[in-house]
Structure formats: C-alpha cells, structure tokens
Amino acid sequence: MATHVDDVSTHGLVEAWRIQRRVIWALLLREILTRYGRHNIGFLWLFVEPMLFTLGITALWSATKAVHGSHLPIVAFAVTGYSSVLLWRNMPSRCVMAMPPNLGLLYHRNVRPIDIYLSRLILEAAGAGIAFVVLVIFFHFIGWLALPENVLEVIGAWLMLAWMGTGLALFIGALSEFSEAVEKLWHPAAYLLFPLSGAAFLVDALPVEAQHYVLLLPMVHGVEMLRQGYFGSQIVAHYSLSYMAVWNAALTLLGLAQVRKVSMTLELE
C-alpha cells in the first residue's frame, strides 16, 4: 500500500477540514454557474426546476383525482410525497457518471472525488429543500394547504431522506465508475421504485400483508415520518426511525468505501 505524506497533513485535521470546505464551496459555485449560467433566471432554476416537477405531479393527480387512500387533500399529498422522491431519486442521478467530465479538476490535488460528489449532493438537496419550502408557503398563501403540525418532525424526516439520498448517491455514483451497467440499471430501478416509495399512498391504507413488504423499503419510512410531522393527528403513520437509520448508515458506509476505491484506482487522461 502506498503512503502519501502531504504538507497539509502536518497541520492536522482542522486544516484538512478547512481546505475541504473551501474546495466543496468552489465546486458548488462552479456547478451552479455551469448548470444554470447567468442567463434568464440563472441560479433560481436550482429550485424552480424541482418545483415544476412537483407542481406538474400535483396538477396531474388533482385532475385524475388519484386514489391515495386517505381523506387528505391531493395537493397536500402530492407536495409532501413528490418532494421526498426528488431527494432519493435525483441525488443518485446527479452522481452517476459524475467523474469523467470532471477528471481534469483532480489535477488540483486538494480536489478529490468525494468533493465532486458532495458538492453535487449539497446542491441537489438544497434545490429540493428550497422547492419544498417555497411550494408549502405558496399553497398555504392561496389557502390550499395548512402549515405542518410539527415542523421539527418534518425537518427530521427530510434530513433522514437527504441522508438516504446521500448514501445511495455515493454508492451508485462511485459504482458507476467501474461499470456502465450501473447507469443503465439505475434509471429503470428509480422509475420502478417511485410507485412503491410511499409518495403516492399512505401505508395505513394498504392491506396489512402489503404493508410488511412495502415497509422493507427505507424511503417509505421517511415519507411516512414526513407525513406524520405534517398532518399529525389526521393520519396513522407506519415507520421505524431506527430501521431507516440502519439502512442509511449501511448505504453511507458502502458508498464511502466505493468512493475510496474510485480515489485509489483513478486514472487521469
């Protein structure tokens, strides 16, 4: 095993953390400029784009009077459900094949693959989060949506979903550097997971038999927790915070191990 000793390592962890924050911030601004530019509404697209998705789904479900197994208004249902989908689905999608177009950046020694992944993940999570808050405030303002009953629980659930998105994204993203099949498989997997993810139904409305199976999926727990925080007494939520935390921790560990493997075996042009 090779050893790399850097001038930085003599300054310890505090200095390393300072440099990493700086690098991630630099990459984040670069990503914003690259993706949204300075034209028309510029970086506002960061949350306008996910907002349009949620609005579209809300309109669609309202028009078709989607059956979701509760007496909750469809708007409330769609906004809480689809916002959570954006986290666990878009975060991995942003990290799949993220390395090839950015290989040149790695010539700057302090830029490591984990920084490229994290800058994209922070941006994605921020976009989804801002979109969620803006939509809630907007629908509340026009009187279609009440504010959450328990804001802290909503934030907790949202952070759990973002954590899951991060772990899954690191794992899927880093894995895609070793096999192109990962990219091909991730898209259908994400598509098929959407109807099972709890975004479009309440677990309580399912037959008991089906509840067991659907609760194997970690994101269902996050969505249920988010809805409990939002609607509280109006629904019966089924979730286990510890079950989801174990999943999240496992995904994060697998992800970090895979990212480390990318760093070790990376070959620049």
């Binding site: 790399h4 690259t34 530019g37 010539y107 042009e269």
Partner: protein, 220 residues
C-alpha cells in the same frame, strides 16, 4: 522537500496490470531544478501525476513537504461553458486566494482582452494555452511541475512566459520532464533519466545526457 521512496505505479489494462514506474526514488530540495529525461512512454507524465498528487502510487512513499503546483499550463480542468474569468475564480477559490486580486494580472498577462469574459469553448487552442499559463502563475507554489516544453503562443509570448517562470520565480524548485535534452540543459541544475519506468540518477548533467543519448541512439 519532495521525496519519493521506492515508488511503484501500475495501470490496469485488459491484459492485466502494467507497471509504469518501478522503484522510483527522487528527492527535490527547495529551490532545486531537476530535469527528467525520457523518451515517449517512459513514464514521465505518470511521474508528474504522482508528484502532483493527482494520482496515487500503487506502493512506496510520496512525501510533499512543500507546496507543489499542478502540471504547468494544464488546461484540462477548464469548464468550457464558463468564461476565462469564471475559470480563474474556480481555481482561486480552490486554493483559497482572493480572485479579485488576480484578475488584473491575468487580464494583462494572457492578452485575451474581452475574450476573458467569453466562454472558454469559444477560444482557439492558442488562447486556451495563454489562459492556462496565466492561471498557472496566479497561485504561489514552492515547486512547479513542468511536463514538456512550455511553448505558448508566438516567440514574443513564449519569451514572456519563460521570463515569468524562470526569472521571476528563479528561487522556486522545479521538476521538468521532457524528451528534449536542450530544454533541460538550459533550465536544470541536475538531471535523471527515466527509461521504461526506471529512474536512473547521474552525478552531473553531462553524465545524464550521455546516458540519454545512448538510449536514443540505440532506438534509432
């Protein structure tokens, strides 16, 4: 000081791992200019990537006790849809330098004029090279890595680059890898020869050139 101890580097190919560097030992002290001569495929660029820290060694120890640049005038990190100025800002932020203080220098040095505010993808290769060289001079390093002759722009611009690098930064360490013996003789105080992944040290410049010439003669 930079020190490589028994460094090996493998690359993976379809027919298994290929060893590109074998038991390489190298020490560069502050202010020292070391040339590394080698023919195509000898492993020169790989050596530069390991010293820069862009890639990790397969085994051995790589020590960097002074700040080391990225390979000089490397433009591969440019984001084509961003302007030259935005690319400058990215690099400054990565290294923790205030971009605003460096804009004037890059404007003046690169001679890109209003193109500095245009996307890099609209640049000619010469314009890209001028921007890349100017950006390499924006961050202060103790040791500069130079992969092949820095030939940017016309003769006048080339002379300007050489002045900025070898005169204004005369006190810095440099590692220059090249297949051009003349370039290394002009700028280095010490040289070594890289052949098929082996780094062979010499006591003085002439000895290194003799060794290198014998290799190229055999090949011819």
């Amino acid at each position: 000081m930079i020190r490589l101890t028994n460094v090996n580097k493998d690359y993976h190919t379809r027919s298994g791992p290929v060893r590109v560097l074998r038991d390489v030992n190298l020490t560069v002290r502050p202010g020292e200019r070391v040339g590394i001569l080698g023919r195509n495929g000898a492993g020169k660029s790989t050596l530069i990537r390991l010293v820069s820290g862009a890639e990790l060694a397969t085994s051995g120890i790589v020590e960097r006790r002074m700040s080391v640049s990225w390979p000089l005038a490397f433009g591969g990190a440019f984001q084509g849809s961003l302007t030259g100025l935005d690319n400058l800002r990215v690099i400054c932020r990565i290294y923790g330098v205030d971009p605003d203080e460096r804009v004037a220098f890059v404007e003046d040095f690169s001679e890109l004029g209003l193109y500095l505010r245009e996307p890099v993808k609209t640049y000619s290769s010469g314009m890209r090279a001028r921007l890349a060289f100017a950006l390499s001079m924006v961050i202060d390093f103790d040791c500069f890595l130079i992969d092949e002759i820095v030939a940017v722009g016309d003769a006048r611009f080339h002379a300007k680059c050489n002045h900025e690098l070898f005169v204004n930064r005369a006190d810095r360490a440099m590692i220059i890898v090249s297949h051009n013996a003349g370039y290394i003789r002009e700028h280095c105080s010490r040289a070594a020869v890289l052949e098929a992944g082996h780094l062979q040290h010499s006591d003085n410049l002439d000895e290194a050139f003799d060794l290198y010439n014998r290799q190229t003669a055999v090949a011819a």
